[in-house]
Symmetry: C2
Subunit: 340 residues, 2 copies
């Protein structure tokens, strides 16, 4: 799977910023993939990209319309079906992260087939996955792990990719969730694979590499989230990471979706991840902590990072507010030493 | 799902003992469910049950034919399709553990629908699963955990069920694999659920219970198997076990399917399981070790059990050769104390 670009980002009739979060992620991290946006007449929310009709987008060279819309239930409304059909009519492939599959809608499937266009349901895992084998493979791999879901793992991974690339180091984001898959033009929705294939899926998205570059693998969930820890562990084993980057949100009151359940301590969480990772990557090391401090004033944010550094002996930065330069420094230093 | 009994066990034309392993498991653990067996003319392998044609089985009161056959690829051969159709014609429901689904065969689906009979594809997980929530629930639950796959977790769980029931204690085997599901007449094939639902599936098969009895949950895989540890961890969190029974096979040379990968030590394995289990069951304790000593002479088997007992301070028995009475004693003693 390689989603053809340039993209037209479909916003529909967004109700709020949250409903265009996926599209905004693509626009922020891959502006070079994005030609424009489509929103229904009368909508005020914009990504700041050129407004294009389906025909205008196709004429300008767009290859794929990205339905990066989040709604309750992940359903395709009648209005969205009509828009998808119109986009196909204009000659665009269509990719969707909705739970309800494009390919399961007979009209959409027929329209795509008639025009020889591709439909990408990025929540549908690939059919050819093998079970993981845990065999040591070549290459440098970093995985982001978290104290909880939604603490900034995708953002941190992409920020590190940008930082390493800016320094001339080959680095590739490997996607495990829907927004990430649009950004990377491919990947595996790791929480949607059949349980037996979790680690195999992680092995598949980060195969052996020998160019000295890094695969930066988007983490999911948390070993300490009782709903999803199995996904996180399978991903950890399959990723076979040389390096871990721990992600956390300052001030998070409880595990996502589970009122009353406390988050683990940072050291506890990191130790558990390192211990589990050693099964397939005996020399794994932590290289930093990405702290989402958006809830804190700047002075407190910096103090929070210093406190983490003192506790763990690792560079700690908020990727949004402070970048990830010191985390990248540590990564490079650590693996320059081991390469000697 | 509740597979109607009595069963007719379908053996087909078995090539060896391994190919009837599933049917034999049902015959051994639930003789009261099994009315007879069907094998193709000329086959020598038998479970020792009455040989019945489909019509004879139906006339004798059989409700469901169990296709408990293991073959490479898990496919339905033409001969098997013909036999399934003949069984439906005779009025039997059909349950299968093959990878290839009964319901996906148009002739079988049509024949079942025409006669208002049920098809059970036990490798197909239920559609209504929720994600796990990790909330504390009432009841006594024991989970078998292992150093590896195929070390005797199902057998040990069933042996403990038999032992507790013989002592008048309510105890119910909860199945997570295909053979177990035929035995329990229901359950969830935990390795076949979508990754996000592993712990939710485990919660679903062992709901809150308040009768003082035990849910004895069939474990799968191993936290130390790099192919399947995600399944094992999700099951561990969802099972929310009060008690763990560690299973191991003496003399196993390497992790199943992974030549060169050593098994974990028993203490290392038990500690990792206890630590992970505490996320949803803070007071979890180990109550014993089930050691598969089939590769050892009896004297060595007993010495191996004593060595484990000395190391871990837990009763250790081979459930096949020695029973599980001392493990049951420990379980009862431990929870009699906590009930006081």
């Amino acid at each position: 799977m390689m989603i053809p670009f340039p993209y037209l980002l479909y916003l529909g009739a967004p109700k709020d910023e949250l409903s265009v979060k996926t599209s905004r992620g693509v626009a922020v991290w891959r502006p070079e993939l994005c030609l424009g946006e489509y929103r229904s007449p009368g909508s005020a929310i914009t990504l700041g990209l050129p407004q294009l009709s389906f025909a205008e987008a196709a004429a300008a060279g767009a290859r794929t319309m990205i339905v990066g819309v989040a709604n309750a239930g992940g359903t395709l409304s009648e209005a969205m079906v009509a828009d998808v059909l119109a986009a196909l009519e204009a000659g665009l492939n269509v990719a969707s992260g909705l739970h309800q599959r494009l390919g399961a809608n007979p009209a959409i499937a027929a329209a795509a087939a008639a025009r020889n266009l591709q439909l990408f349901d990025v929540r549908e895992p690939p059919a050819h996955l093998d079970v993981g084998n845990g065999r040591a493979r070549a290459g440098n791999r970093l995985l982001t792990v978290g104290t909880d879901c939604s603490v900034g793992k995708m953002y941190s991974t992409l920020a590190l990719e940008r930082e390493l690339r800016a320094r001339g180091i080959a680095a590739d984001f490997r996607a495990t969730g829907q927004t990430g898959i649009f950004i990377a033009q491919g990947g595996v929705p790791i929480d949607a694979v059949v349980a037996d294939f979790i680690s195999g899926a992680a092995e598949w998205i980060s195969p052996a590499r020998t160019d000295g570059g890094w695969d930066l693998i988007e983490g999911q969930g948390s070993l300490f989230h009782p709903s999803f820890a199995g996904v996180s562990l399978g991903l950890l084993h399959g990723a076979q990471p040389n390096a871990l980057l721990l992600c956390h949100e300052s001030g998070r009151q409880h595990m996502r979706g589970l009122a009353g359940r406390a988050l683990p301590g940072l050291k506890q969480c990191l130790d558990a991840n390192l211990q589990a990772a050693r099964l397939t990557s005996p020399d794994v090391v932590a290289v930093g902590v990405a702290l989402n401090t958006s809830a804190l004033p700047r002075a407190e944010a910096e103090a929070a990072c210093r406190a983490v550094e003192d506790e763990l002996g690792l560079p700690c930065q908020d990727p949004v507010a402070m970048g990830v330069d010191r985390i990248a420094d540590r990564l490079i230093e650590t693996f320059a030493e081991t390469a000697d």
